[in-house]
Subunit: 330 residues, 2 copies
C-alpha cells in the first residue's frame, strides 16, 4: 500500500514519517512510504521515496499521480502567523495546492480503474476554523467562523474534501488539530509557539516569559500522539459519519498546571522560572479554550495524551514509550 | 459609484441589471453600471458598460481592476446540475474565478489608497450549502453540509469572502438564494427548473407533469424580489453581524398551494392540468424544505414576496408593480 505524507519536512510530518516507518504498516497492510516536501528532506530512512518540490507545481503533481497513493496524509501548510502575514501565499499553499492535490489523487485512482476503494485522505485541518470568543463548550455543532486566513483556507479545503468523499472519489477525514508540542525552538510563524517554548525552557531549567497568564487554559497534544491519531484516522470506520471533520480529544490544561507538571517531571522550580507577562492579543486567542465535547471523536477511537505527565514526556523525549499504551498505539 | 454585476447575462443577473438601471442609484448614490458576462450580452441600455469574457481570465480581471468597482454583485456561476456533471468546470467558475475576483476587487481598492470604505461584495450563494435531510427548522446555526458540488464550491467562496471582510479588504455579504422563479423555459442545468416550468405552463393553460408531489414544500422567491434583496444587501448595516451569510426570508409553499394560486391568478383549472409523478431523487432534495428561522435576515430588512399571489405576479409579469410596496422596494 502506497502512503504519501505531504509536508514531510515539517514538525508533525517528520514525526508521522518516523512513526509510519517504524511500524512499516497501517493496520495489517505493509506500506511503501512517499515523503513530499517543498524543501530538501534530511537523509531519509531506507525505503522512503522523496518527492521534493512545490506541491503546487505540475511536475510534483505528475509524480504523485504516477505513484497513485492509496493513502495520503496531507500536512503541507503555511502556518497561522505566516499565512496571516501573506494571504496570497496562504491561498496558494493552504488552499489551491490542497485542492489540486485532492484532484490529482482522485484522478490517479480513477485512471487505475477497477473497483478499488477510493484513496484515503487524512487532512490536517485546524481548530482555527472556529472563531473567538469560543462558546462555553466546543462541540461538533459549533459554528465555524475562522478568525484567521489560515483557518479560512483550511476550512475551504475541508468543504471541498468532503465533497470528494460524497462523490466517492476520495475517502476524506479531516482532523482539526490543536497546537501541537513540543516544536523545536525556532521561528515557526505560529502564534502558539510559546506552548512549545515553555516546555523546552523548563526541561532545560531556564527562565521563561509567558505571553499568557497562569490561568489561561489551552488544548494540548504531543506530536507523537498527534501522529498516532493521524494514522488511526486513516483506519477508523467513518462510513456512517455525517461529518467528515473532527476535533481531536485533547488535554485541557492551564498554564499553571503545565508548569507544575514540567516542574515535577524535570525537578525544576517552574513557578520561579516562569514570569507571566500576558499579551492581550495572544491571551484573547490562546488563553481561553473552553471544554470540548469530543465524544464523537473518542467513539471513533481518537484519543488525547492521557495525562499531563504522559503529554510532557511524549512531547520532550523522542524515545518515550508509555508502558500503559495498547500495542497498536505505540 | 461604480457597480459591477457579474453573470449579467444570466436570469437573476439580467433582472438585477434592469432594476439597477431603472433606479439609477443605490440608496442615495447615483451609479455607473458595469455588466460582466462570459457570453455576448444583448444590447444593453445606454450607459451600461459591458465586460465580455471569461471572469477567470487575466484580461477580464485587469479590466475590472482598472475600473475598481465600489460595489460588486457576484452572480456568475455554473448552476447545480451542470456543476455536478462537470466538477472541474464548477471549480474553475464557482470557486477559483470567485476567489480571483475577490482578490482583484480588494487589490484595486487598495491601490487607489485613501481611507475609502472597502468595496461591498454581495455574493449570490445558495441554500444548497445545507445538506439533506434538512433539520426540522433551518436557522442561522444549521450546520452546512453541501449535498452537491455546487453548494460545496459556493460555501468555500463564502468562507474566503468572510475572511476578506474580517481583514477589512472587502465588505462581503453572502445571500443564500433559494430556487428563483420564473426562469425562462429552456435547459438551465438546474434540478429545480420544474419550479419555474409549472408556472409558465399554468399561465399558458398547458398541462404539466410535476416531479414532486402536491404536498412537497419548497422555498419560493421571484427574480424581482431576489434582485431587490440583493440591492438591499449592498445597503444594509451588517457591521455588527457575527455572520456574513444569510438565508433570505422565503415563502414556504406546497406545490398544491402554488397550483391553486396560479389557477386563481390566470383562471385555469390547475388541479386538472397538473399530473403529479414524483421522482424520488427530485422529491428527496426539493420536496421537503422545512420552516426557516429567518428572523436575522428580516431584522436586516431582507424580505420575501409577501403573498403567493404577489410571488406569482412578480415572477410572471415583468411590468408588475405591487401598489402595497414601499417606494424603496419598487
Amino acid at each position: 500500500m502506497r502512503v504519501l505524507v505531504t509536508g514531510a519536512g515539517g514538525f508533525i510530518g517528520a514525526t508521522l514519517l518516523r512513526l509510519l516507518h517504524a511500524r512499516g504498516r497501517i493496520g495489517e497492510r505493509p506500506i511503501e512510504l512517499l515523503a513530499a516536501a517543498d524543501q530538501r528532506l534530511p537523509a531519509l530512512d531506507a525505503g522512503i521515496a522523496a518527492i521534493e518540490g512545490d506541491l503546487g507545481s505540475r511536475e510534483v503533481r505528475s509524480r504523485i499521480a504516477a505513484l497513485a497513493p492509496d493513502v495520503c496524509f496531507h500536512l503541507a501548510a503555511v502556518p497561522g502567523g505566516a499565512a496571516e502575514a501573506d494571504p496570497a501565499l496562504s491561498r496558494r499553499v493552504n488552499l489551491d495546492a490542497g485542492l489540486d492535490l485532492f484532484e490529482t489523487l482522485a484522478c490517479a485512482a480513477a485512471s487505475r480503474g477497477g473497483q478499488a476503494a477510493p484513496p484515503v485522505v487524512v487532512y490536517a485541518s485546524t481548530i482555527a476554523v472556529y472563531g473567538h470568543p469560543l462558546p462555553e463548550v466546543v462541540s461538533p455543532s459549533t459554528p465555524t467562523r475562522p478568525p484567521m486566513t489560515y483557518g479560512a483556507h483550511k476550512l475551504a479545503c475541508e468543504v471541498v474534501l468532503a465533497d470528494y468523499s460524497r462523490r466517492g472519489l476520495l475517502d476524506g477525514r479531516a482532523l482539526r488539530l490543536p497546537g501541537i508540542v513540543a516544536r523545536p525552538r525556532a521561528p515557526s510563524g505560529l502564534v502558539s509557539a510559546y506552548m512549545s517554548d515553555v516546555m523546552h525552557a523548563l526541561k532545560a531549567g531556564e527562565s521563561f516569559t509567558c505571553p499568557v497568564g497562569p490561568e489561561a487554559t489551552a488544548w494540548w497534544m504531543s506530536a507523537r500522539r498527534c501522529a498516532q491519531n493521524l494514522v488511526h484516522a486513516a483506519l477508523m470506520d467513518a462510513a456512517a459519519e455525517a461529518e467528515r471533520a473532527w476535533v481531536l480529544p485533547v488535554l485541557r490544561l492551564s498554564m499553571a498546571e503545565l508548569v507544575q507538571t514540567l516542574s515535577q517531571s524535570y525537578g525544576v522550580d517552574g513557578p520561579r522560572l516562569v514570569r507571566y507577562a500576558p499579551q492581550p492579543a495572544v491571551q484573547a486567542v490562546f488563553g481561553r479554550y473552553p471544554p470540548l465535547d469530543d465524544r464523537a471523536a473518542r467513539a471513533l477511537g481518537l484519543r488525547d495524551d492521557g495525562t499531563a505527565t504522559a503529554l510532557v514526556r511524549r512531547a520532550l523525549e523522542p524515545g518515550f514509550e508509555d508502558p500503559h499504551e495498547a500495542p497498536a498505539w505505540r
